[in-house]
Each structure stands twice: as C-alpha cells, then as structure tokens.
Point group: C2
Chain length 259, copies 2
C-alpha cells in the first residue's frame, strides 16, 4: 500500500524528468493567454487556473475561484499548492495524485504531436466556503509545450458537479478530445515506483486476449493448462491495475506494451 508521501514523491520525481532550459521559456506567452483565460472564466463562469510545471506554481487564478469554490485568494497567494491540496477531501487526494502520475506517464509516452490532445476530467470533493464538502469537476489539459516538447503550462477548468453526493470518492475519465474517445480510467494499481513490465509469456497471452481468444483457446495454442493461462491473466490484470481483460488490453496498448 502506498503512502501519501510515496505518491507525492513519485509525482515530484516524474515532474523532475522534464528538463527545462529557462532561457528557452518565453514568459510573454502566458501573459498573452491571460486575457483569453479571463474571458473563459467570465463567459463560462468556470474557475480557470494555469499551472507552470517549470516554476511549479500557478501563473493564473481566475477571480471567481473564491465565489464559486470558496478559495481564499490570500491563502492561495501565500501557500500555493499546499493550500489547494489542504482543501481536497483526504480520501480523494491520493486518487487524484495517482491520476496525475498516470496522466504524466501517459503523456510522456505520446509523440510530441499528440501531447496536446488529451483532457483528464476529475470529479472530487473539496471544502466549500461553509466548511462542507462539495463535489467539483476539474478538467486538466496542457496549454503550452516548451520548444523541447515538455509540458510547460497546464490549464484547469473547474465547475460544480451535478452530483453532490458527499460520500462518493473520485470519478475520472481521460479523453482524447480530437477523437472523442476515452482512454479507459486507470484503476490505480500501477505506481511508477514499480516500472511496468510484462514477462514474455504474459505479453504473448495479452496479444492473444486482444485477438479475442478465450482462455481455453489460448491454452490449446500455447500447450499450457487453462489454469496456467488464468494465472497469467490474473498477473496481467494486477500489473496493469485493470479490472478486466478489455481494460488490460486498452491500458497496455496505451503504455506501448503491445508493440
């Protein structure tokens, strides 16, 4: 079982994998975005923020984050991300961090030309003005890559969730907004501390699962028992954090394990 500290460290380590060169970052770019972001917040009445993955701080914070969600702009100014994190329901924080790790791993594995094509949509609980938990929907997406293709600026749009069930944890989707297709939700067992590798046999079996073969057919093809096939299957699901074969195939293909 991972601890919050382990997860935070894994996330920080991942962020540190991006090598920025300060002189290559043109800070007039976020300035130019500001008017548009302001309009986005005003027209849509959504909370809009921009995070700088190089400086590891917010560059933009829309005026309505206070009235919509009760964020204190002064505390935000003083404490930054620590303040934001302190308002997230503790049961949701770990899942959100895991999603962040998944998103970074996922995007790092993409060719540069596809890095801007995805949105992570999280629904989770934060404290509101009155000190009660409310559900919000936050859509994360890259706003700018640097000249090396690093994810430099990330945008978030925050809205009130239609479901205000305070006893439910995080819901999320990763969406390719150019195709409208979902990347299946990541189910949480994979941590970047355990680099994900399938054995040759597991990979072989996953290919056959992808091709639609049943366990019995796989066992006949590979001259092993059905029981052995099912044991491999179970290990594959566990490694991928998948709850069924379809999820496993999608997830493995997203991670480049089916090539």
């Amino acid at each position: 079982m991972e601890t919050t500290e382990q997860l935070n460290k894994a996330y920080a380590d991942l962020l540190a994998q991006q090598h920025f060169v300060e002189s290559e970052l043109d800070y007039t770019i976020p300035e130019k975005h500001k008017a548009q972001l302001q309009q986005l917040a005003q027209l849509g009445n959504s909370g809009v923020t921009v995070f700088d993955l190089y400086r590891k701080q917010h560059l933009f914070w829309s005026y309505n984050m206070e009235m919509l969600f009760g964020y204190d702009p002064e505390l935000m100014e003083q404490k930054g991300n620590d303040y934001i994190n302190s308002r997230i329901h503790p049961d949701d924080y770990m899942t959100l961090t895991r999603n962040g790790i998944f998103l970074l791993n996922f995007v790092f594995a993409l060719p540069l030309s596809e890095r801007m094509d995805y949105k992570l949509i999280n629904e989770y609980r934060i404290l509101n003005q009155a000190g009660h938990y409310m559900r919000v929907i936050e859509q994360h997406q890259p706003l700018e890559l640097d000249p090396r293709g690093n994810i430099w600026l990330a945008m978030s749009m925050m809205d009130v969730a239609p479901d205000q069930d305070e006893y439910r944890g995080v819901r999320y989707q990763l969406l390719n907004y150019k195709t409208g297709r979902f990347v299946l939700p990541y189910s949480g067992a994979v941590s970047p501390d355990m680099p994900l590798t399938l054995t040759k046999r597991e990979q072989e079996i996953l290919f056959l699962i992808r091709d639609g073969l049943l366990s019995k057919e796989i066992s006949e093809k590979l001259f092993i028992s059905v029981h052995t096939v099912n044991t491999h299957r179970q290990h594959i699901l566990e490694k991928l954090g998948a709850s069924n074969s379809i999820e496993a195939v999608h997830y493995a293909s997203q991670l480049g394990l089916l090539q």
Copy 2:
C-alpha cells in the same frame, strides 16, 4: 402522469410568455460574441452553443460538437432542435424538459438584475458517434437579455461527464454562480399546467416549518391535530415536488411563496 407532448407544450407556452419586439433586438450582439465563443470552445475543448429564444434556433454551434459528441453538422443544420432532441436518451428527455420549464419559471420570477446569475447544470445521456449512450454535462446560462429583460440568448457548454454509467438518469443542479450557492434540485412533481398555489393553511404551516417548529408544536399552535398537520405537510411536499421539509421551504421561498 405527464406525457412528452404535454411537457413540450408547457415549455413552448412558457417560452411564448416572453414578448420580444424584433426591432429592439440588436443582432450585431451575437455576432460580436462569436469570436469569444469560438475561443471558449477552443481553449476549453468544450462544446459551445448559443440558442436564440426569440427565433427559437441556434445562432452558434462550435466546430468541435462533432468530434466530441458525434453531432452531425448537416443534420443539425437541417433539423435543428429536433435533431438534438433525437440524440437524447428517451428516459432523460422528459426530465430535461421539466428542468427547462423549472429554469424558465425560476428565472422569470427573479428581478431583472439577478436573471444572469444562475447556471443550470444537467448531466444526461446522448448517443455518441458509435451509436452508444455517453454521459455529458451541459451547463446552461443566459448570455444576453433584451432591453425588456427577456432572456434572449442562452449559452450552453457541453463536456464529457466523469461518470459514464449508462444506466443512470439525469443529475442536475441549479447554481447561483455569484454566491456559489445551490438552489436545491427540483424534484419534478411541479408542472406549469398546475399553477402552484398553497392554501392559506398550507402557507401558514410552511412558515412554521421554516421557523423550525415540529408537527406537534404546530398542532398546538394552530389548535389542530398532529395528524392534520402531517396531512397538510404531505400536500405541501407534493405540490412543491419536494422530498422533505427543508427542500419544501427552499423551493417555496425561491418561488416567492413565503413572502
């Protein structure tokens, strides 16, 4: 039980209550919005549409409605709202129409200065490109009032829902985005065909409920039996479509029945 036709008629009747004078409507205004709406769609990767309540047609339809949600732009052009409605899950259509009716009634009852302050957030099912149901979140809000205070242009922002449970019906919230407060979800029993009036006794009892009195205390105060109080209570809940007393008080106060 209402039929779809009754609900559609009730909605059309409500829309017809707004009296527009064509010469007062400045159609350069929506033109000026278009660049901003385009940006909103592009930056947020949300579907953005604008509906004209005078002409009863869409004036804006963002380029990404097809790739995100599978709307065919040609069919949209030809058939307009009929096409949009045909893609909504039939079990969700009635609730959405009821929500639309509630929203109009609610906004009509507001002073002009507050008519722009609310967002209706619906989560419901539409057919996607592949012909399967997907859940979307649509945020409706007024974009422009006419010089008489009529709701002239309404904007909608559509996003993919984090919850993709295809067996669940509509979820919704009505939010005052200036205060961050929810108007409690309307629970659906009130139809504009039955104009909502409480008897003098019901109103009297609702006031006492609001003041925190229990049924027994109300019965003592009004010299009636607890059973009679509870019968009135039940009628009040039914008339207001409320599922408990707190909801009834909020809802009645929103409808101006507690003045």
